[in-house]
């Protein structure tokens, strides 16, 4: 279970963008978090994935309170999350061929990288694309690689922050299908952040509106 307890977070302590928000993702549950542009939902997603230190409040992973954020988070907690961001171009090192991009979490955790090809296949990337660098593939193909990277360490939770906002309808349906296939097989939980209520309601077990979260 992933619990956010009374989280207040932002980029300026005097004006936090997230105020006293609590949210729980049960084991294996898919929770959609829906809100307008700029409301703070991405900040909350970053807190949940231990990528942003909240000003106050707690993140609790299966009963264990998170004590560190980003590189200071204990490895076991850090690697429990797979994160996919909105803009694949900004979240991919332009120097890395896709195979290296997907292998990066494995490599930095000292794990064997021989499963990259198989990972790429699960997201629909053929071997011919793995040698290319980000500028040589489309947004949709790059986001597929970013999803494969997020799945590489077989995380217990996936945090998808507007994963499909840049993508066309068919690629969106395909990537959601990949996430759901992984969750069925692994029992992983999901926090899907987005603004598209129709999509989130079709995708997730329950969808929470930002307004309901913050009005409590």
């Amino acid at each position: 279970m992933l619990e956010l307890r009374s989280v207040t977070a932002g980029y300026d302590r005097r004006a936090p963008v997230v105020r006293d928000v609590s949210l729980t993702v049960s084991a294996g549950e898919a929770v959609g978090l829906q809100g307008p542009s700029g409301c703070g939902k991405s900040t909350l997603a970053r807190v949940a994935a231990l990528l942003h230190r909240p000003d106050s409040g707690q993140v609790v992973l299966d009963g264990e309170t998170a004590r560190g954020w980003r590189h200071r988070a204990p490895r076991a907690q850090r690697t429990a999350f797979g994160v996919v961001f909105q803009q694949p171009r900004l979240s991919a090192d332009p120097r890395l061929p896709l195979a290296e991009l997907i292998a990066e979490p494995l490599r930095s955790n000292g794990r064997p990288t021989d499963g990259v090809r198989e990972l790429a296949e699960t997201v629909g990337l053929g071997a011919d694309l793995l040698g290319r660098r980000p500028h040589e593939v489309s947004d949709g193909q790059l986001q597929r690689a970013c999803l494969a990277r997020a799945l590489a360490l077989r995380p217990r939770w996936l945090v998808c922050d507007e994963m499909t906002a840049m993508l066309d309808a068919s690629t969106t349906a395909a990537l959601v299908g990949v996430v759901e296939a992984y969750r069925r097989e692994s029992g992983a939980g999901l926090l899907a952040v987005g603004h598209d209520r129709v999509l989130l309601e079709r995708w997730c077990d329950r969808t929470v509106g930002w307004a309901e979260l913050t009005s409590r």
Partner: protein, 328 residues
């Protein structure tokens, strides 16, 4: 510029008063380092009438954005372009015009661009106010804060954020800043390249409605988008692009309502929406550098047959061997 001597293509040598943009057989290919070619756009033709909004839709990587770049002369050096794209009453060929003309007369003045990635489009080291001030001064000659405030308001950019730098804006606000910049020059042709990416539904509707409002009088809008809902909301006509070619171009009402799309790819794309079947089209689009000789969609199509070994012509607005068309 004088009208082009000859582009060697199509019936439209000149543009009559009723067309803002007339594109004929536009093809763009990129020469790669190994001498091979990537055919990003192949023989695309369409007209844009004054006051009209044409939505160009398709999967990512199908050539939509390259088409927009070609129209503004923003392609990289290894691109070669064929065909013609005649703009406005004087029929200036955007594909033949030189960089001086494009820079001084076309971009921002006769053709405005709402870009795809505002974060990359805005100058990172300057505030939104500074960039808007410069654009307003250059394009309208007006100085002072009133013009800047009006320009920001047109794109619903909040005034209290004007002093922020691009990295201090959310994706949605950065998009609105870029939209505000594009609207300043009141250009007769507006190219919007994925203007609603990253915006929530309310803002998508406000942004496209604003773009639509901009198409009054003599202005035309080419809306390039993967957001079918946004396209359905404001488009008069829809053009579906696949692997660099237009496979269907039709009335928006019939496309989104009854009878629906006719091309199998267009049907699949619409059915992938979460409010419809939410099932992807199997496979991925072909590589533009290694297009099959026949119909590019055949490999993913459940109706593929021997006939698909030949490229289908665009007849009555649809390019598929399996669609019955009424020959006019």
């Amino acid at each position: 510029m004088t009208p082009p001597t000859d582009s060697g293509s199509g019936p439209a040598g000149t543009v009559d008063g009723g067309t803002v943009l007339s594109v004929r057989d536009l093809s763009v290919r990129f020469r790669m380092r190994d001498g091979s070619y990537v055919r990003a756009v192949t023989e695309v033709s369409f007209d844009l009438a004054p006051g009209e909004c044409l939505a160009l839709v398709g999967e990512s990587g199908c050539g939509k954005s390259v088409l927009a770049s070609a129209l503004l002369g923003l392609l990289p050096g290894n691109a070669s372009v064929a065909g013609s794209a005649l703009l406005g009453d004087d029929g200036l060929d955007l594909l033949a015009a030189d960089e001086r003309v494009l820079a001084r007369e076309v971009r921002g003045r006769r053709a405005g661009l709402v870009p795809q990635s505002p974060a990359a489009h805005l100058t990172p080291v300057r505030t939104v106010r500074s960039q808007l001030t410069e654009t307003v001064r250059e394009l309208t000659g007006a100085a002072g804060p009133a013009g800047v405030r009006a320009a920001a308001a047109r794109a619903a950019f909040p005034e209290d954020h004007l002093n922020r730098h691009p990295h201090q804006l959310s994706g949605g606000l950065a998009q609105r800043a870029a939209t505000a910049l594009a609207l300043v020059g009141d250009a007769p042709l507006l190219l919007a390249d994925e203007p609603t990416t990253g915006l929530d539904r309310d803002l998508v509707e406000r942004t496209v409605d604003e773009l639509r409002r901009h198409t009054s009088d003599h202005r035309a809008l080419l809306l390039i988008t993967h957001d079918l809902a946004a396209a359905g909301r404001i488009a008069d006509r829809v053009a579906v692009m696949y692997a660099g070619r237009l496979v269907e171009i039709t009335d928006a009402a019939g496309f989104f309502g009854a009878p629906g799309p006719r091309h199998p790819y267009a049907r699949g794309l619409l059915n992938a929406l979460p409010e419809r079947d939410f099932t992807p089209i199997p496979g991925m689009p072909p590589e533009l550098g290694a297009l099959p000789p026949g119909c590019a969609f055949a490999a993913r199509c459940d109706r593929a047959s021997g006939a698909c070994a030949a490229v289908p012509a665009l007849v009555s607005g649809v390019a598929c061997h399996h669609v019955e068309v009424a020959h006019a």
